[in-house]
Subunit: 192 residues, 2 copies
């Protein structure tokens, strides 16, 4: 593979998605995030809304329709993960790009020319950010962060058998709350 890929894994509310976009813009390469949803929906045959909601989150697996199994015994979550893996692999083969989350670090772990980045921030900074970005909602922002962290961690561990956010899986880990989004994007672009 001669393309160069950057994967950006991130804690909810850390601004990792924005940092990924900023780095992609600096480098003049595409950034795949929400754009993955349509591709994965097309690949899997699953409805877009389900893909959007469960592409990093196994909650649906434990009850309701997502608990159903197909002919091969796969849950809908497994089907989603398989489609996501295929789409991410195809993108990495097609062009240089930034890919946000969705276990892309794990899916591309064997490839050369992949820069794996993790973005994190303190609970305080993340809580501030989600209230600013997504507005006040019912419930404590700290509780929302904890719920989201828990779901992403569970999803990641289920499909990768690795610990989510373990330093050794990333060439670069940045505290966006302390360094700022722009500086994080600069460092990532400088390593490309």
């Amino acid at each position: 593979m001669s393309n160069r890929i950057i994967t950006v894994s991130r804690e909810f509310g850390s601004g990792g998605r924005t940092i990924g976009r900023m780095a992609a813009l600096k480098l003049g390469i595409p950034c795949y995030d929400q754009e993955l949803i349509d591709k994965v929906a097309a690949e899997s045959g699953l409805v877009r809304e389900f893909v959007a909601e469960h592409s990093e989150d196994i909650r649906g697996g434990w009850f309701g329709y997502a608990g159903a199994r197909d002919f091969y015994g796969r849950s809908i979550n497994d089907t989603l993960y398989a489609a996501q893996t295929k789409v991410i692999r195809e993108l990495a083969e097609k062009e240089s790009c930034v890919i946000i989350g969705r276990c892309s670090d794990y899916i591309l772990r064997e490839d050369d020319n992949v820069l794996m980045v993790f973005i994190h921030a303190s609970m305080e900074k993340r809580a501030e950010r989600i209230v600013r970005q997504y507005g006040e909602r019912d419930g404590d922002p700290y509780q929302r962060l904890k719920d989201k962290d828990r779901k992403r961690r569970a999803y990641y561990q289920l499909y990768t058998d690795r610990k989510w956010g373990a330093m050794e899986n990333y060439q670069l880990a940045l505290d966006s709350g302390s360094l700022g989004l722009e500086k994080c994007a600069e460092i990532i672009a400088s390593l490309y």
Copy 2:
């Protein structure tokens, strides 16, 4: 505190010490590593050799003379840690500098203007490096790495009650085996 401090915590064999020196050189500020030993020996009244061997390692605490307690019930390791804390705080108040390891990240955690860095690398890269740097010795280099990791982790956890190498304690974590020492030093200097 108007000084700016960089703490560099690192896995054994990751080249973190060298990266810290390189960054300090780029910035024209001192780097404290072995230099701490004389200061801590003077502060604590402990012999230099003991300080050199146990400033990041609790092994000595479990047997032999290091198990002895002073009048206040402190072990020699506790005396060493207390002296180290005092020396690191004084340095941080005196001048801008790079400080290598010795729980400096934890000791200075409340201060502003501290950039906390962690350097890691794969076991393969670290094994290569220790054989190249320190020569072949009795025993498997992987075993030497594991022993050293275990001791540093235990020391850090004993005195800080934090998990050693947990991403959230560092603004910047770098895989030196993948990025190279020079690039790591550049990133650190650019964040100063």
